[in-house]
Amino acid sequence: MTFDGRTATSAAMVALFGAMVIAALGFPPEGRLLPWVVGIPGLVLTAAQLVVDAAARRRTVPAAGAEEGGAPPAARRDVAMFGWLFGFFAALLALGFLIGGPLALGAWLRFAARERWTVALLGAAAGWAVLYGAFERLLDLALFEGFLPRWLMG
C-alpha cells in the first residue's frame, strides 16, 4: 500500500469522532451534553493513538523501504475481497434476496472461490430453495425485492 493502513485507520477514527463532536454543535444544549462528554475524550484518545502510530511509522519506514516495489500481495487480496464484498451487496440491493442472493452465491462460488460450475450452480440452487421455501412459503416473511424489480414494476 502506498499509505500505511494502520495509521489510516487511526486517522479514520479521529475523523469519525471529530465529525460527530462538530455535528453536536448544532444540537440544543441538553441534547449536546452527553455526545460531548463521550465524544471529546474519544477525540483525544484517538488523536493520541494516531500520534503513537505516526511516530512508530516514522521509526520503521526506512527499514520497510526495500519492500516497496509494487503493492504487496496481501494488499491485493484485501482489495479483491472488498471488491467481491461490495459486489455481493450491490447484487442483493439491485435484485433482492430471491434473485440477487442465488446469483451472488453462484458468482462467488464460481469466480471468487474458483469452485467447479456444478458446485456453484448447486450452491445457488440450494440458496434459492432455502430462501424461497423458508421465507416465502413457510413463514410468509417478506424479503427485499431489490431496486431493479421495484423500478420495473413501477
Binding site: M13, F17, G31, A112
Partner: protein, 501 residues
C-alpha cells in the same frame, strides 16, 4: 411452597403424552428461530399464535413457553460456527466462541454453550420458583436510578475488555456510545445524527452493528487468508462427540462462574426494562473480570462462551416473574407471550398467584424440561454442526455473508441496514486488522441508550441526588470496586496496557 403442588405439577406435565409431545415439537422450532439470524423468539411466538388459538390454556402455554425457552440455545450455533449471532444476546458468545471454532475446537464450544444454556435455563426456572414469595419488593426496588448505574457498571467493563491497548479499547467503546446517540434524543425529542433520514431516527440497529463488526470482518479475513474457518486441520482436532461432551463438562469445571452468571442473568431478566442484550454482556464482562487470566478472553476462552450462554437462558425464567406476578411483561418477548397467555385464557396477575399456582409450577417445569431435552437433542446433532468449521472457506463465505445480510434485513425490513452493514463492516475489518478490540463497541452501543434514558428519567424523578438510594449506593460501590480491581491488576502485571507498541 407446597411440595405437593410442585411434584403434582411435574407429574401432570411429564405424565401427559400430549403435553410432552407439544414440548418436543416446540423445541426444534424454537431452536430454528434462534438459529436463523434476525428471526428470534418474538417472531416465532407471533407466527405460532394462530396455531395455538383454541388449545386449552395449559397446552398452548406449554408449547409457546417451551419454544421461547430454547431460542438462545439455537442462537449459539451460528454464533460459534460462523461468528454470526442468531439473536442480539448471542453476540457475546461470538467473541470467544468463534475463535474456538477457528482453533478447531468448535465441538467443544458448542458443548460448552449447550451445557451452559441448559444449566442457565434450569437455574432461571429455580430462581423463578424461589423468588415467587418475595418477588414484589425486589422487583419494585429497581428504578431508573439503578438501571443507569447498572449500565455504567457494564460500561466500565469496556476497560477490562480492551485487551492489550486501553486507548484503543476505550476509544472503540466510546465510539459505540456515540453511535448509541443516533436517533431521537429522549430529552428534547430532536433527532441527532440522523441526517434527516427516517431510517436512522430509531437509532442504529444492534444486530446490524454486531454483524458488521464481527461476522463481516471475519469473513473478509477468511477470504483473504484462505483455508477453512478452523485454522487447525481436521485430523489435528479431537474426535467430535467427545469434544462436545468435554465442553459440557467445562460448564461444571467452572461451576462458580456458571452459577454466578446464571443468577445474574435471571436477576437482569427479572427487571423489566433492562433487556436481554444487557444480561449477556454484563455476564461476559464479569467473566473477564473474575478470571485470573483475563488476557485469554477474545482468543477462545471457554468461560467467554459459558458466561453469556447461561445468562441468555436464565433470563427467560427471570422475566417470567414480573410477567406472571404483576401482569407486566419483563421483556418484549414476554409482552407477546403475555398476549398469547391472555388469549389462551391464562390471566396473569396476583389472582394467578392465589388460585393458579399449580399452573405456574407447570410453567416452571416446562422451562426445566425444555432446556434439558434441548440439551439432549442438540447433543446428538452438535458433532455434525462442528464439522462445518472445517469446510473450505471459499465455499462457506458467500453463504455466511448471505446469512448475515438476512439477519440484518429481517430485523426491520429496511434495505438501508444492508448499506449500513457494508459500511460498518468495512470499518470493522480495519479495526480488526490493526488491533482495535471490538467487544467494547457493542457494550457501548447496547448500554448507551439504557444509560442515557435512565439518567434522564432518574433526573426527572428525583433530581441530581437520585443516587442517594440504598440500592444505588450499592451499585456505585460495585462500580468503584470494578475499576479499582482493574487498576490494581494492571499494576500487578506490570505491563503497559495503555497502548500497544
Amino acid at each position: 411452597m407446597d411440595v405437593d403442588t410442585v411434584l403434582s405439577a411435574l407429574a401432570a406435565l411429564a405424565g401427559s403424552p400430549r403435553l410432552m409431545g407439544l414440548l418436543l415439537l416446540a423445541i426444534p422450532i424454537g431452536m430454528f428461530f434462534g438459529a436463523v439470524p434476525g428471526l428470534g423468539g418474538k417472531i416465532g411466538v407471533v407466527l405460532l399464535i394462530p396455531f395455538v388459538f383454541g388449545m386449552d390454556p395449559v397446552a398452548g402455554s406449554v408449547f409457546l413457553l417451551a419454544m421461547h425457552a430454547v431460542v438462545h440455545t439455537g442462537g449459539s450455533i451460528p454464533s460459534i460456527l460462523f461468528g454470526v449471532p442468531g439473536t442480539g444476546p448471542d453476540a457475546a458468545t461470538v467473541i470467544d466462541g468463534f475463535p474456538m471454532a477457528q482453533q478447531g475446537r468448535a465441538g467443544r464450544a458448542l458443548g460448552a454453550s449447550l451445557g451452559a444454556s441448559g444449566l442457565g435455563g434450569v437455574v432461571g426456572a429455580l430462581f423463578l420458583a424461589l423468588m415467587l414469595p418475595v418477588l414484589g419488593p425486589v422487583v419494585l426496588s429497581f428504578s431508573p436510578a439503578e438501571f443507569f448505574l447498572l449500565a455504567i457498571l457494564g460500561i466500565t467493563f469496556i476497560a477490562t475488555l480492551s485487551g492489550d491497548s486501553l486507548i484503543k479499547g476505550v476509544s472503540v467503546g466510546l465510539l459505540g456510545l456515540m453511535l448509541a446517540f443516533v436517533g431521537a434524543d429522549p430529552q428534547t425529542g430532536i433527532d441527532r445524527y440522523t441526517f434527516d433520514l427516517l431510517f436512522l431516527s430509531d437509532g442504529i440497529d444492534v444486530i446490524t452493528a454486531v454483524l458488521a463488526f464481527f461476522a463481516v470482518p471475519e469473513m473478509i479475513a477468511l477470504g483473504v487468508r484462505g483455508g477453512a474457518i478452523s485454522m487447525v486441520g481436521r485430523q489435528a482436532a479431537r474426535y467430535s462427540f467427545r469434544e462436545v461432551v468435554d465442553g459440557m463438562v467445562d460448564v461444571f469445571r467452572h461451576w462458580g462462574l456458571s452459577l454466578r452468571t446464571s443468577v445474574i442473568g435471571a436477576v437482569v431478566g427479572m427487571i423489566p426494562g433492562l433487556g436481554g442484550d444487557a444480561a449477556s454482556w454484563i455476564c461476559y464482562g464479569h467473566a473477564v473480570q473474575s478470571s485470573k487470566t483475563p488476557e485469554r478472553f477474545g482468543k477462545g476462552a471457554v468461560e467467554g462462551v459459558i458466561a453469556p450462554e447461561t445468562a441468555n437462558n436464565s433470563k427467560e425464567g427471570g422475566s417470567l416473574l414480573p410477567t406472571l406476578f404483576f401482569g407486566v411483561p419483563g421483556s418484549l418477548g414476554m409482552a407477546i407471550l403475555l398476549g398469547a397467555f391472555v388469549m389462551l385464557g391464562v390471566k396473569p396477575g396476583p389472582t394467578l398467584m392465589l388460585t393458579g399456582l399449580d399452573m405456574v409450577w407447570i410453567f416452571i417445569w416446562t422451562l426445566v424440561l425444555a432446556n434439558v431435552i434441548a440439551v439432549a437433542i442438540f447433543l446428538l446433532c452438535a458433532p455434525w454442526f462442528g464439522l462445518l468449521s472445517f469446510v473450505r472457506g471459499g465455499l462457506l463465505i458467500p453463504f455466511v455473508l448471505l446469512l448475515a445480510m438476512l439477519g440484518s434485513y429481517l430485523g426491520h425490513g429496511a434495505w438501508e441496514n444492508l448499506v449500513l452493514l457494508a459500511g460498518l463492516g468495512t470499518l470493522g475489518y480495519f479495526l480488526r486488522r490493526y488491533g482495535w478490540p471490538r467487544p467494547p463497541f457493542v457494550i457501548g452501543l447496547v448500554l448507551g441508550p439504557i444509560a442515557e434514558n435512565s439518567l434522564h428519567k432518574a433526573l426527572a424523578i428525583w433530581g441530581p441526588t437520585f443516587f442517594l438510594r440504598p440500592l444505588s449506593l450499592l451499585f456505585i460501590a460495585l462500580i468503584v470496586a470494578s475499576v479499582a480491581f482493574y487498576v490494581v491488576r494492571g499494576r500487578r502485571t506490570k505491563r503497559s496496557l495503555l497502548y500497544d507498541f
